[in-house]
C-alpha cells in the first residue's frame, strides 16, 4: 500500500509539473514521466497487459508524436499570442466547473469503500482477451470502426490538395 501512495504522490507531482513548466518540451517530458507512473500502478494491480499497452501506445507512440510536433513549431515567448482577460476569466470559470463536476461524481461514487478485485488474474492477456472477444465483442468492434473512420478522415484531410502539388 505504501508503494501505491508513493507512486500516486509522484503521479500528482509530475502532473503539476506538466502545467507549471515554462518550456513546452519540458512539460511533455514530465507528461511522459506521469504516464510512466501510471504504468507502475497497472503493474501493482497485476494488470500486465494494460501496463505494457499503456507503455507502448502512450509513452512510445502518442507522446513521441507530441514531442515531434512541439520540436517542429517554434515556441518563442514573443511569438506567443497575448490572450485577453475575458478569455482568462472564461478559462478559470470553465476549469472550476469541471472541478466541481469531478468532485461531485467522486462523492457520489463513494470511494471510501475500496473495490476488492474478485479475480487477481483478471488483467492477464488470456483472461482479458476472453472477456473482450466474448462479453464485450460489440462495443470492441464499434470502437475499432470509430478509429478506422477517424483514420480515413485524417488521410482525406491530408491529401485534400493533391491536384495542386502533384
Amino acid at each position: 500500500m505504501s508503494i501505491f501512495y508513493f507512486i500516486a504522490f509522484l503521479s500528482i507531482l509530475f502532473a503539476v509539473l506538466v502545467i507549471s513548466a515554462k518550456n513546452p518540451v519540458h512539460s511533455i517530458l514530465y507528461l511522459i514521466l506521469t504516464f510512466f507512473t501510471f504504468t507502475i500502478q497497472y503493474i501493482l494491480l497485476n494488470a500486465q497487459f494494460l501496463a505494457i499497452v499503456n507503455f507502448i501506445v502512450y509513452m512510445g507512440a502518442i507522446l513521441v508524436l507530441f514531442l515531434y510536433t512541439l520540436m517542429l513549431i517554434n515556441l518563442n515567448k514573443d511569438a506567443e499570442p497575448v490572450k485577453s482577460n475575458m478569455l482568462k476569466i472564461a478559462g478559470v470559470l470553465g476549469g472550476g466547473c469541471f472541478l466541481v463536476v469531478i468532485i461531485a461524481s467522486l462523492k457520489a461514487l463513494g470511494v471510501s469503500q475500496p473495490v476488492v478485485l474478485q479475480n487477481p488474474g483478471l488483467g492477464l492477456v488470456k483472461n482479458l482477451g476472453k472477456v473482450l472477444f466474448n462479453e464485450f465483442l460489440l462495443p470492441f468492434e464499434v470502437s475499432s470502426l470509430l478509429l478506422l473512420s477517424a483514420m480515413v478522415g485524417a488521410v482525406l484531410l491530408a491529401t485534400r490538395d493533391k491536384k495542386t502539388t502533384v
Binding site: L29, Q48, F49, I56, M59, A61, L67, L124
Partner: protein, 347 residues
C-alpha cells in the same frame, strides 16, 4: 523468492550485462574488419595481434577527449539524452531466454532474467522508448542539424514500429503465446510433423518484414537517415563529443545485438539446434550447447547487419516512408489475413 534466488538473479543480470557490453565493444571491431573485408582492405591491425585491442584503444580515446557542452543548450537534457539511449538499449535483454534450465546440484537455474507473460510486448515497449534518447539529445543540442536528425528518428521509428507490430501478430497467431520462453520452447529441435519447427519456415514473410523494420529501428544503414552525414553533418549527435558520443555509438551496437537476439529467439528457434535430444548427452550439456547455438545465430545475424551496411546505399527520405507505409504495412496485413485463412482451413 528466497535470498538465493535474488543473489542468483543479480549474478545472472551482471553476467548478461557484461556479455552485452563485451559483444557491443567487439562489434565495433568486427564492423571495421567486415568493412575492410568487403572493401578489400586490411582494417585495424596495429593494437595487439590482428588489432584485437582496438576497441580498448577506442574506449580510452573516447574517455580522454575533451567534453563539450554547447552554450545555450539545456545542460541536464543534453546529458540525459545519451544516458537514456544506452539504458533503453540495455534493458531489452531482460526477457530473452538465453538457454534452457541448468541444474547446479539441486538448484534449477533458468537462463533468463525474468519470464513475464507479455515478453514480446515488453520488447516492443523498450524499442519504442529507445527513440527518446535520440530525440532529447537532438533537441537539447540547440542545433538545427541535430533537431532534423531527431525529428527524422522519431518519424522513422513510429512508422516502422507499426509494420513491425503487424508482422509479429502473424507469428503470435501461430504460437498462441506472448512469452518468449514458450515461443522458444515451441521451436524445439528442427523438424517435426513433416515440417520445420522454426518460425522462419512457418512465417517467412513476417521474418522479412521484421528484419527490415529492425534495421530501421536500430538506425542502421540503409536506414541511417537520423545520422546521415552527407546531409546533416552528424545528425542528432553533431554536438556530442567524448564518452557521450561514445554512448550513442555504443547504444547502436547494443541495439543491434539485442535485436539479433530477439530475431534468433522469435524466428530461428532460439537456443534450439537440430538433433539436440538425439545426441545422447545429459540435459546440462544440451543446455550449454544450446546457449552456444543461440550465440552463433546471433553472430550470424550481426554479420548480416554489417554486410547490408557495407553493400546497400542509403535510402532517400521519401523512399523510406513509401517503403514503410505503402509496402511493408499492407504486406504485413496481408500476411495476417493469409495466416488466419490457412489456420482456419488446415487446423
Amino acid at each position: 523468492m528466497t535470498t538465493t534466488d535474488i543473489i542468483v538473479r543479480l549474478v545472472l543480470i551482471t553476467v548478461i550485462f557484461l556479455i552485452t557490453l563485451v559483444i557491443a565493444m567487439y562489434s565495433t571491431y568486427a564492423e571495421r574488419k567486415v568493412a575492410a573485408f568487403l572493401q578489400d582492405r586490411v582494417g585495424p591491425n596495429r593494437a595487439g595481434p590482428y588489432g584485437i585491442l582496438q576497441p580498448l584503444a577506442d574506449g580510452a580515446k573516447m574517455f580522454m577527449k575533451e567534453e563539450i557542452i554547447p552554450a545555450r543548450s539545456s545542460k541536464f537534457l543534453f546529458i540525459v539524452g545519451p544516458s537514456l539511449a544506452i539504458m533503453t538499449a540495455c534493458i531489452g535483454s531482460a526477457v530473452i531466454p538465453w538457454g534452457q534450465t541448468l541444474m547446479i546440484g539441486n538448484y534449477a537455474l533458468d537462463l533468463q532474467v525474468t519470464d513475464i507473460n507479455v515478453g514480446v510486448l515488453y520488447i516492443f515497449g523498450v524499442v519504442s522508448l529507445g527513440v527518446y534518447g535520440v530525440m532529447i539529445g537532438g533537441w537539447a543540442s540547440n542545433n538545427k542539424y541535430s533537431l532534423l536528425g531527431a525529428i527524422r528518428a522519431a518519424s522513422q521509428n513510429i512508422s516502422y514500429e507499426i509494420a513491425m507490430g503487424l508482422s509479429i501478430i502473424a507469428v503470435l497467431m501461430t504460437t498462441g503465446t506472448l512469452s518468449l520462453r514458450e515461443i522458444a520452447a515451441q521451436q524445439h529441435g528442427f523438424w517435426s510433423h513433416g515440417w520445420f519447427t522454426w518460425n522462419v519456415f512457418k512465417q517467412p514473410l513476417a521474418f522479412l518484414i521484421f528484419i527490415v523494420c529492425a534495421f530501421a529501428e536500430t538506425n542502421r544503414a540503409p536506414f541511417d537517415l537520423p545520422e546521415c552525414e552527407t546531409e546533416l553533418v552528424g545528425g542528432y549527435h553533431t554536438e556530442y563529443s567524448s564518452m557521450k558520443l561514445g554512448f550513442y555509438l555504443f547504444a547502436e551496437y547494443i541495439n543491434m545485438f539485442i535485436s539479433s537476439a530477439v530475431m534468433a529467439t522469435l524466428f530461428f528457434g532460439g537456443y534450439n539446434f537440430p538433433y539436440m535430444h538425439h545426441l545422447g548427452l545429459s540435459a546440462n550439456w544440451v543446455t550449454i550447447l544450446g546457449v552456444i547455438a543461440l550465440f552463433i545465430k546471433i553472430f550470424c545475424l550481426i554479420f548480416f547487419f554489417m554486410w547490408v551496411r557495407w553493400t546497400l546505399p542509403r535510402f532517400r527520405y521519401d523512399q523510406l516512408m513509401d517503403l514503410g507505409w505503402k509496402a511493408l504495412i499492407p504486406l504485413a496485413i496481408a500476411n495476417i489475413v493469409i495466416t488466419g485463412l490457412v489456420m482456419n482451413f488446415i487446423k
